[in-house]
Amino acid sequence: MRRKSAVSLSSIILSMTLLFTGCSSANNDKAKEASSKPKEIVIGNIGAMTGSSAVLGRAQSQGVDLAVKEINENGGILGAKVKVVNRDDGADPTKSKTFMEELVDKEKVEYVVGPTNSTPAAASMAYLQQNKIISILPIATSTQLISPNNPYAFRLLPSNEIQAKAIVKIAVEEKFKRIALVADTSALGTDGMSVMEEAMKSHGVTPAAKVTYKADDSDMTPVAQKIKDAKADVALFWTLGADGAKIVRALERVDYIKDLEIIGYTGLNMPNFNELAGPGAEKVNTVTPGSWALDPGKTELTGKYWDMYQKVVSEYGEKAKRDTSASMIASGYDAVYLLKWAIEKAGTTDSDKVKAVLETDIKDFDSVYVKSYAFSKDSHEGFPVDELFKVKIGEMAYDEIYKKAD
């Protein structure tokens, strides 16, 4: 009796396997047939369009919409129109994962731009990889998002690791002797501290002090005192804007700001940083993409980057009206053009072939965000370390474009 049941069960499993294998191979054939002459290319655009991170999602969407409008007006991709399906995850990882499943299973997206925030991106990444969906991350910066576990993910903005390498490189090249590392104890801060330490190790330098604090703490005097006690000549800040400003004020109180230079990652930058930090803001620097920073004495960016800026202003208005960052819009815009370029170069929508083009021929792509992306088979980090420049915080033109130091 038991043997009979086992035989029946085996037969059912075998039949089901054959059935699904058959379906799968039929689907693959269909996909291959459709991929060289697609009727329509569907791109998912996902990010925080509402909530406290809404400016990120809106910037990405504005870039994507602008690119898709231009592409469709000029014949599409491989002759096919591009359709964008938008989803607002509100920076919520659970929503992001659900939306991503819906985008892949129901909306049949072939490529994804986003999510904008790192935690939602981490939550939804596995599903994209399982389905071999190429995802371009124009904004999320968490180091772990780009790894061998996510072979179909490509990032455009400088990741935490790239930023850490850049600020450590700047401090070492400017011959600072005693480097203090400052970060909060959140996941973001811990990641930042760890990547800064790694970068220091690669330069053979030991930090003079590693100072941590609880994010949003009201009293930052102990942080300032520890930097002072370490006799640091430069402090590398992996802090968000308001906390960074509090530390600068505390450094002034312990009478140490004049002896110190501060270089912070991009999270330190906020519109009213100088107002919050007070006079000590004079000593604070951050890093920014070089192509989107003004050369000394200039009022316009160079060539294509200025054209892109003008395009953003004419489409969405000046900074005060639009609220979103022009360089982030450029990054979202690049994401779609990058897909167009790679699909056309591969001559197919097949994700493995498109991925191979991104990994091997990226130097041919004409970006409006960086000079050249740095993708390779070993790394899907697009932003080159050398393209991050030190700028004085708050020194901006048009309320959004940094001025490079003389």
Binding site: D184, T212, A245, N272, L276
Partner: protein, 295 residues
Amino acid sequence: MQEIVTALANGSIYALMALAIGIIYSTTQIINFAHGSVIMIGAMSSYWLLSFAQMNFITAMLLAVLINIVLSIVIYKVSVEKLGDLTNNSRWIVTLFGAGIIIDNTARILFGTEPKAYPYLFDGKVIPIFGSKIMVHEIMMILVAVVIGIVYQIVIQKTNFGRAVRAVSFRPDTSRLMGIRSNHIVLICFAISGAVAAISGALIAPITFASYTMTYSIGIKAFAAALIGGLGNTKGAFIGGISLGLIEEIANMVVPGGLKDAISFLIMIIVIIVLPGGILSAKLFNKGELNAEKV
């Protein structure tokens, strides 16, 4: 020296916040979980009156106090009064948490998400004391807290209103039979608590910056200070606040920054467990048997 002044200044703010929590607790046996949000509204409204209406500090503060009094009365009317006997239900936990969330979200929409630089008193003037740079603002934080504490004690001990508060705290039902309108007393306590919150907000905002999240971190410390000192006890609020300020400053010196709060709250737990003069003196677990002399 600087560490001591910072500890005392932070402790004074915790004490003021604990006092405001205690004022409500002493007459109602409930903890106002919306208190952090009320402090924030005090700070944000005075900031806007100072920056945009260009008012002087005193006028802006008086108006902010008024706004907070109205807000606290609305909180009482909407989230507390309708619940009936507060000692026999715990629905106030949800309604007051809810009120706090509504206030925070409204503030986010009204004032935006960006923190604002709130001006220090006396333009942030610094005076040297024993080789340390001490801000006049910090000294004012301590003085204002002490003055409010003393005034509140005088009102409670020497006035008819104070006697009524103590009566309501001690035996709410009996005081009602004696003709004391306990609902009115509770309403006034909410109003006083709101006024104290506005002052706390203006004093702490230059340090935390004014934003709708400004009390997320320090709000919980106010509850800790209130518990350490003894809920509903004015002197206890000050002892709890100053102790917490000192504990934090010592923790800052001996452990990495991220562990400071863990140490502070561990000590709070030990104090609550070991010292009966803390939470148990307010009879949190013996509702309706408050000692009126300890208000």
